[in-house]
Every structure is written in structure tokens, then in C-alpha cells.
Symmetry: C2
Subunit: 118 residues, 2 copies
Amino acid sequence: MRDLDDCRVPLVSEPLNADQAERLAPSFKALGDPVRLRLLSLIASHAGGEVCVCDLTDAFDLTAPTISHHLKVLKETGLVTAERRGTWVYYRARAEALGLLSTVLAVPRFAAAQGTAA
Amino acid sequence: MRDLDDCRVPLVSEPLNADQAERLAPSFKALGDPVRLRLLSLIASHAGGEVCVCDLTDAFDLTAPTISHHLKVLKETGLVTAERRGTWVYYRARAEALGLLSTVLAVPRFAAAQGTAA
DNA sequence: ACCTTGATTAGATGTCTGCCAAAATAGGCG
DNA sequence: CGCCTATTTTGGCAGACATCTAATCAAGGT
């Protein structure tokens, strides 16, 4: 999702316009499911940077098509990429995408401190 | 949402367990709607730290009940707090909650660089 | 060619979500 | 108290979503 590039601004520093919100929301929506969050985390935290779908399927009590569906959602929002090598398909997390979303939610240090104190 | 406290770990550093994912997902889901994203941004970026509902309603082509509904979702996930003072209700962003989610998505600097390069 | 394993797509179904109109609640004021 | 404004709750509906089964596609091996 290259069209997120101009959204790399904390939402706390100025109001998101309708357009930016429209482009960012799908990414957060993708993260809004526990299975997808875990999938992404499994992929992103895996040594070597990539994970085979077969390894992911085993980690859940869900059918392969369901996992595949969730992976597709993550892929469509640009949070992961997929590459087939022979029989297997490997997924990788897109650090840029993750970083961008992290930045959007980031809070200036002293403001965070205020929040914690409150 | 105090029970998010032990989720303050980047999703990229180790796999989220089912329990953590279950607790984090609702927050991301709340952010997964463009209207709520804008509402949160309007609230979080507002000078003085708080915004009256009446000001929020005017910013959208939506009815008051719809805005109220979205604010409720944000409130239930702990992203904002509401306080009534006289006739009006004021909403504030919870910087802690925002910061936590930002941390969960954060990517170590060099890993982010790799991602950008790829 | 055929069969097997890995993965995705298609179709069906029950649940959830976003929206609105109407009704209810909360405060302030004459 | 009765009225007015601000906000939330309720009820209902159309569209979206998570999940499953069955079918299909991809790559390898026999």
C-alpha cells in the first residue's frame, strides 16, 4: 500500500483528514482481529524473517482456508508479502507498513507522560 | 482498559500469545473505521486536550447518534475518556493507550531500514 | 499421466457493524 | 414545573465479516 506514505504523521499532532483516515483505517481493521494479530506477530518475529504457511496453520484451531483468508487480508493491506518457492508459500512482514502505523499512533514523550500521570 | 498493560511489547520481537492478541485486537478494531480514526485524531490533537461532542458532530456528515456510537466504541476500548460538565460532554484521548498500541507496532530501527530497503 | 501434499478460491451461513429515525436521559433556565 | 438543547440509548435494516466445506490450482514425486 504505497498510498499510505503521506500518512506518516502522528494522529495526535494534527487532525487526520477524511482521505488519510480512509487510507489508514483498512490497515488497523486488518489488525483488529486476534487471529490476524497473532499471524502477523508470528511472521514478524520469526527468525529469518519469513514463515511458511504450513507453520502458521498448525498454530491455530482453524482450517487452512480460514488462515489463508486472514493472510490475504494482511497481504492486501500491505502488512505482509507472500512469495511462493516450490511447494511452499512464505510470508514476510513489511516493516515499513508496521512502522508507519506505529508512527501514526505515536505520542510525543511528554504528552505520554501526562497521560500516564492522569 | 488496564488489562492491556502486559501487552507493551513490540509484536515483532516475540509472538503474541492468544490471550494478548485477544486483548489487543479490540483496540485496533476500534481504529479500523475512518470515522473513529478521525474522531480520535480530532480529540487527541485538539488544543487543551479535550473536545466537546458538539464540535465533533459538526465535522462529519453523520447524525449525532452515529457519532455517539463511535465515541462509545473508542471509550470502551480505553482510547478516550468522557466527562460531563454541565450540558456538555468532553472527550479526551488516553495517551497511555495510544502509546501502548504504538509500541506494539514499533519496529527496531535497523529492521525498519531493512524493510524500507527491500 | 497420476496421485499426494500445500495453498487458495468459491459458496454458504450465522454473526457483527454502521447507519439512521425515534425515543429516552441529563442539565439548565424561565 | 415545563421547555429547550445536548447527548445517549433503542430498534431496525442493509452490508460486511469470520468460519466452514467443497472444489480448484500448484509443484513434486512415482
